[in-house]
Symmetry: C2
Subunit: 378 residues, 2 copies
């Protein structure tokens, strides 16, 4: 069995004054302290854009050097926005196989080293199909706009129906210390928000940001501030290109990852869900793929308050990618760190009361690489 | 236990007509066929420069899409020139932990999508320290030149003494079908070769190249064309920057990786060595760190013929990075694939006679992330 035994989380945002390595180091040092100052025998760095944005690969050695962890083996894992979750899978396997006893998993992304929207879009485009999508000028936001248009058409919902998602995300983020956007929005703000790629507005997607989070995984239940066990995981891929899929509104990778994760357990009933949604419409599709709502009806969950932190099916009690922020390759580690804090009762202000079990869904690219982790308190 | 049960190797070189995904797919299809057409339940892509050079990340889903392996989970592993070896560690752990039964590991790099030396150097610089080395204009070759200068000074060897290394590498590559440079060179050619970064000449380092190799790993000894078991591995990092090290001529990461690998076994005596050397001087330092020669004396092993394919200590019977070619993130997979072919007696023309055990050393960056695999025939 593998346990999360400590975490360090930096506020998501613009960290102009900190380099990629210093962001990684800061979160790592906090995580190791939180885990009782333990030694680690493997380091995994989750990151997606450092080659393009920061001119830096070889992140394993790069981060280990900065941390002065002499000789500790290390590598980088990349799976788009699911990089952090994929890194946790690798760490989990290293521990279960006996190849490591304690693994430090660091998610880090520094997107503000690019300062123009064009450059930032180019970096995010590396997560899409370079030859068939990016080359022709599509951006990540424009692909999400295609999903939203199709969702509007097929399910005959109104554009306002998408507002319930960011409204709840921003409401939740107000209480989350490390969230990027800690302010409420309302329907008016949503409707009047500038369009990014019609019908996607600024209120539907996150903005480029910097962030770092780290967790320490151990073969032992030894967290001085509490441990959380990784009970199961599932992962699945899908076609990287939207043009290559049967339906824009189905994301079988999410369904398959979910089924693979739950098939290893009996009766796992999560008390809350953390889903890495990137856009409002993706949030709805993910909610539907997880079986929490019928297709085309996810908005009701958010409209009716069911998905609130205090509701029966809490979703993204920390504010999700929209409001907590989405530092691409780091996001999966944020999600697991947030689940850890919830399940050890340390999510002050943003705590889901009595949370014992969580489902964490990370989504890479436009739904082409999904990872589900089922985690529970011990 | 984990076995290599099949491989596919493309010739290293300039593959202008093939895209990154097609290179990966071609090697993968060959490997799966070689392994008996088995199904795989995990895909790991080893690559280091695709973000910068090809504008493509998210390689797990990208390659799985091209292979039409519906839903199979996947991720990318990066550790500079040791990416392929690090990917094999991850695959091995996934299998040993029970999280996967058969893993396809693909090493792919397409460096010729950049056509200027400046761009190629910029891409390779992402493997160094971006802020303290690359930013000030150092290139990968210039760092190796520093090592060579210091080696010349400290050990009082002659520049000609470095010739024995590339001469043997090129001699070996003549017989290796997938090698990039299948021609012999002599001392004259070495001495008159244009300098790249004094005293490093074109004959001391590989050139940018494209390549893809794949191996199938399985929990079972089931290779229809032979299986090879991964008996042990060891990995260690070092400071990413040269300025941060005590000695330019010691690479403790190699020594530590080697010690970690052998500590898990009794009396593992390799019949041959595959070392990912990048430059002549690195080849000598690696040979010394592995205990095959005293410091400053490695050239003798190559001068005297001891390191020949037919000698007592064969090193790089396929021609090494110098002559087989070094497609950075793919190289580690090439090395393991080559060991597999040797140990199953299928290295026609470049076979080490009676080879039963091999040591494979992959070196990331300028000796900052080393992986040793010990593999043997079954």
């Amino acid at each position: 069995m593998t346990y999360i035994i400590g975490t360090g989380i930096l506020k998501v945002g613009d960290h102009w004054e900190k380099s990629l390595r210093n962001l990684a180091a800061e979160a790592s040092i906090l995580a190791i302290e939180d885990a009782g100052g333990v030694s680690v025998d493997y380091v995994i760095v989750a990151n997606s854009l450092s080659g393009v944005v920061n001119g830096q690969e070889n992140l394993g050695s790069y981060v280990v050097s900065r941390l002065n962890l002499k000789g500790v083996p290390a590598l980088k894992v990349e799976a788009a926005n699911a990089s952090g979750a994929a890194a946790a899978i690798v760490a989990n396997s290293l521990i279960k196989s006996g190849d490591a006893k304690r693994v430090l998993v660091i998610g880090v992304e520094k997107m503000t080293d690019y300062t123009s929207l064009e450059d930032s879009n180019a970096a995010l485009s590396t997560l899409m199909d370079s030859e068939y999508e990016a080359f022709h000028g599509a951006t990540l936001d424009s692909l999400h706009a295609l999903l939203m248009r199709e969702y509007l058409r097929k399910y005959q919902v109104k554009r306002e129906d998408f507002s319930y998602f960011p409204i709840l995300m921003h409401e939740n983020a107000v209480d989350t210390p490390h969230a990027q956007y800690r302010f409420k929005i309302d329907l008016d703000a949503y409707i009047s928000s500038p369009l990014v790629a019609e019908p996607i507005s600024m209120m539907d997607v996150p903005s480029p940001s910097d962030g770092a989070a780290a967790i320490v995984l151990s073969e032992k239940n030894e967290g001085p501030n509490g441990s959380v066990k990784i009970s199961s995981f599932g992962q699945a891929t899908d076609r990287i290109s939207l043009y290559d899929r049967k339906s824009l509104l189905e994301m079988p990778s999410i369904r398959m990852a979910f089924n693979r994760a739950v098939s290893k357990l009996n009766n796992f009933k999560p008390d809350f869900y953390i889903i890495g949604e990137y856009s409002s419409v993706m949030g709805y599709i993910a909610t539907e793929e997880l079986g929490l709502a019928e297709r085309g009806k996810a908005y009701k969950l958010f409209m009716d308050g069911e998905a609130k932190r205090s509701g029966p099916t809490p979703i993204n009690p920390e504010g999700g990618s929209k409001a907590r922020g989405d530092p691409i390759g780091a996001t999966g580690v944020y999600q697991l760190a947030e689940a850890y804090l919830q399940l050890t009762g340390r999510a002050q202000g943003w705590q889901v009361n009595g949370a014992r079990r969580a489902l964490v869904l990370s989504i890479g690219g436009v739904g082409c690489n999904s990872v589900v982790h089922l985690v529970e308190g011990v």
